[in-house]
């Protein structure tokens, strides 16, 4: 194990895969000379040269499209987009092309492309740089979606993404870049896709936290334990496609309560989707309706006090978990043992 920041873990993953596989090529705005807008690619240009670490013009749709074409003909491009909001400029190449080419050409060609981008609020970047849009990508068959919340997962999942045969949308979180964690060492220490992480074991309520919200949910779980005597089980799905629904369902069957926390918008969100899946497949195990904690249904405001209340924090999660538990108590038949 080595202690490193989330950003450094991503850097290590890129460095190791670049060294391991000559077909890996990085492209993005300011990833070379500048070292990356968030310094994720720092030092890679010096080590691997201009042919493999390619600074691009500001042309998001075309950068992703070049990645698609190069992936179709033998490279494993990793494209960095500066923030998730800029990925909207590349939606044609991501959805109509990267996601569909394998299918629409009858499986003749693969698109092993990784598109990395950070998301998330908290830095007063306002309505065009702060959103959490994983739900948009989750919606699209053909794409894989990774949302690492720890340094170890950032490294292990990125390495898996680069070795993946399908196009991967790899969503980092701006607020996590500086967070340290223990990271397993070794070139082949991968975190597989489709395997959730149980961040904290518990028996009273299942809390699923997406992206940074896995971290916030863990803190909320500590408060639930110390102040309310509630043992929450916190699950980080790590990848939304493929989704390890099984781990979530096993937990819900044990706790009979489920809270889903995401930073994105409520309508058509990751939580809405997960709540539907849990309700469809574990309805009889639920003692209360699935609770969602989401970002506010607004464009992200700039002003600090407004931004603060526009995405979930620990107290809302604590409250939601308690409400979920209370609701089942209130609705339980008199005398029921629980």
């Amino acid at each position: 194990m080595a202690g490193m920041r989330y950003r450094e873990a991503l850097n290590a993953a890129l460095r190791e895969e670049l060294a391991r596989d000559q077909s890996v090529v990085l492209m993005g705005e300011d990833i070379g000379v500048f070292g990356g807008a968030f310094k994720v690619t720092d030092g890679l240009l010096a080590e691997f040269g201009e042919k493999r670490i390619r600074d691009t013009p500001i042309s998001e749709n075309t950068i992703v499209g070049i990645g698609v074409g190069a992936a179709m003909t033998g490279l494993r491009p990793v494209v960095e987009l500066m923030t998730i909001n800029f990925a909207l400029l590349a939606f044609d190449q991501i959805v109509n092309h990267a996601a569909h080419i394998h299918y629409m050409f009858g499986g003749q060609v693969r698109v092993p492309l990784v598109v990395r981008m950070p998301q998330g609020a908290g830095h007063q970047l306002g309505p065009t740089h702060s959103h959490c849009l994983e739900a948009l990508f989750l919606h699209v068959p053909g794409l894989l979606v990774a949302v690492p919340s720890t340094a170890a997962d950032a490294k292990g999942l990125l390495k898996s993404a680069i070795r993946e045969e399908n196009p991967v949308i790899f969503i980092e979180h701006e607020s996590l870049y500086g967070v340290r964690g223990e990271v397993p060492e070794g070139e082949d220490e991968l975190v597989p896709f489709g395997l959730a992480r149980i961040a904290r074991a518990g028996s009273d309520v299942t809390i699923v936290g997406v992206s940074r919200m896995a971290v916030t949910a863990e803190r909320a779980a500590e408060t639930l334990a110390s102040e309310h005597g509630v043992q929450a089980e916190v699950i980080d799905p790590r990848t939304l496609r493929p989704l390890d629904l099984e781990t979530i369902l096993v937990s819900v069957r044990k706790t009979n309560h489920c809270v889903i926390v995401e930073e994105g918008w409520p309508h058509g969100g990751v939580g809405a989707n997960l709540a539907a899946l849990v309700s469809e497949q574990a309805f009889d195990d639920l003692d209360a309706p699935v609770q969602r904690v989401t970002g506010a249904d607004v464009p992200m405001p700039y002003s600090k006090p407004l931004e603060d209340i526009a995405y979930p924090h620990e107290p809302q999660i604590v409250q939601a978990a308690l409400a979920c538990l209370n609701r089942s108590k209130q609705s339980a038949p008199a005398g029921a043992a629980r």
Partner: protein, 386 residues
């Protein structure tokens, strides 16, 4: 163009092959239109009748290992690369033997083995992909060139400017060929582009322009050969404008209210197929009866293609989920359906990449060790597209 001296003919066998392929494309497209009218073909159908010289003249400037990438008007591009008409017709019919397995249809033909890298339904969507293919060619240290064709309408898309800039900046071996058939769907060139001299549209992006008479297979071949070899040598893109005309509507449901019968008739006089045949007869390369035989053979080939397509089965319902993902059998949860249910349809599990076609994704590692030492609307439309 029409006034310049007529380019010399190639070797007789080559000239015959060009005429044969142009005739095949013409007859194929006519039949495809008939099959559409008989509801054998669904969706949109965009025919390239009138553009055969542009297709054959440009594709024949390529080597076998070069890549060709096209648009939603791409039957001719598959045929010119050698995809059997049977598989192109079967794709139109939505059958399993279609060159995209019945998943793509008219707008999404594909043939990896022949390095035809696809038809694309999004106007301008193929330009970045072409640049990516060229990037991989360059990265591998090959001499391959990519020919990227698109229409005059696509020259207004953002990807046009973005991709030309990037291809020039990174010195990527792409020949961008704008097939100027005078219309972006139903909007005439002068009504959709401030600059109608399309070959100049790359100038400010560092991409030099050339022009060919797309109604003349000889001129198209001559100009594209120069472009392709220049790109191959310089590893830097060029833009070629091929002036042509589509004799049919944008697609099958196009009432063509945006142009006059006289205009179409005027261009029909320069129909690339009879004019090339006449030239071959005139210069004694073929006799009239050979032209007739070539035509009869093309018709017979297309007949066989229709028979083949009719006989080919529709894809099985169980195949619906195949090839959405390259599935790893150890991983579950690819789809939202419960994985415990057999009926969920999980698709085909991953098979190793096909090694019979070394062009595919798996050829890189060995090679690199050396190289790196250093607004359309629906079919039932009331008048617009279709």
């Amino acid at each position: 163009m029409p006034d310049s001296p007529a380019p010399a003919l190639p070797e007789p066998d080559v000239a015959r092959e060009w005429l044969t392929t142009m005739t095949l494309i013409r007859r194929f497209e006519e039949r495809a239109g008939e099959m559409y009218a008989r509801a054998k073909v669904g969706g949109f159908l965009h025919l390239s009748i009138g553009e055969e010289a542009t297709i054959v003249g440009s594709a024949r400037a390529l080597r076998e290992e070069d890549y060709l990438i096209s648009t939603y008007r791409s039957h001719g591009h598959a045929l010119v690369r050698g995809t059997p008409p049977e598989n192109v017709m079967a794709e139109l019919f939505g059958r399993v033997d279609g060159c995209s397995g019945g998943r793509g249809g008219s707008m999404h033909m594909f043939d990896l083995a022949r390095r035809f890298m696809g038809g694309y339904g999004i106007v301008g969507g193929n330009l970045p992909i072409a640049a990516g293919i060229a990037l991989a060619s360059d990265y591998k240290g090959t001499e391959e060139v990519t020919l990227c064709t698109f229409g005059d309408g696509a020259s207004n898309q953002g990807t046009f400017g973005e991709t030309l800039n990037l291809a020039a900046l990174w010195k990527l071996p792409v020949v961008f060929m704008v097939t100027n058939n005078q219309f972006g769907m139903g909007t005439a060139l002068r009504r959709h582009s401030a600059v109608t001299d399309l070959q100049r549209k790359g100038e400010s992006l560092g991409v030099p322009g050339m022009r060919c008479d797309g109604m003349d297979v000889l001129d198209t071949f001559a100009v594209l050969s120069e472009a392709v070899e220049r790109v191959r040598a310089d590893r830097s893109p060029v833009l070629v404008e091929a002036i042509t005309y589509r004799f049919r509507g944008h697609s099958m449901a196009d009432p063509e209210q945006y142009r006059s019968k006289e205009e179409v008739a005027h261009w029909r006089e320069r129909d690339p197929l009879p004019s090339f045949a006449a030239r071959l007869i005139e210069e004694g390369v073929i006799e009239e009866d050979e032209r007739e035989r070539i035509d009869a053979e093309a018709i017979a080939k297309v007949d066989r293609a229709v028979e083949f397509a009719e006989a080919s089965p529709f894809p099985a319902p169980e195949s619906l989920y195949d090839d959405v993902y390259v599935l790893d059998p150890d991983v579950r949860g690819w789809y939202s359906a419960p994985t415990s249910e057999e009926s969920a349809g999980r698709g085909r599990e991953a098979t190793p990449p096909d090694t019979s076609e070394p062009a595919a994704n798996d050829e890189i590692p060995q090679q690199l060790t050396h190289a790196l030492a250093a607004g359309e609307d629906g079919r039932e439309s009331t008048g617009a597209e279709a």
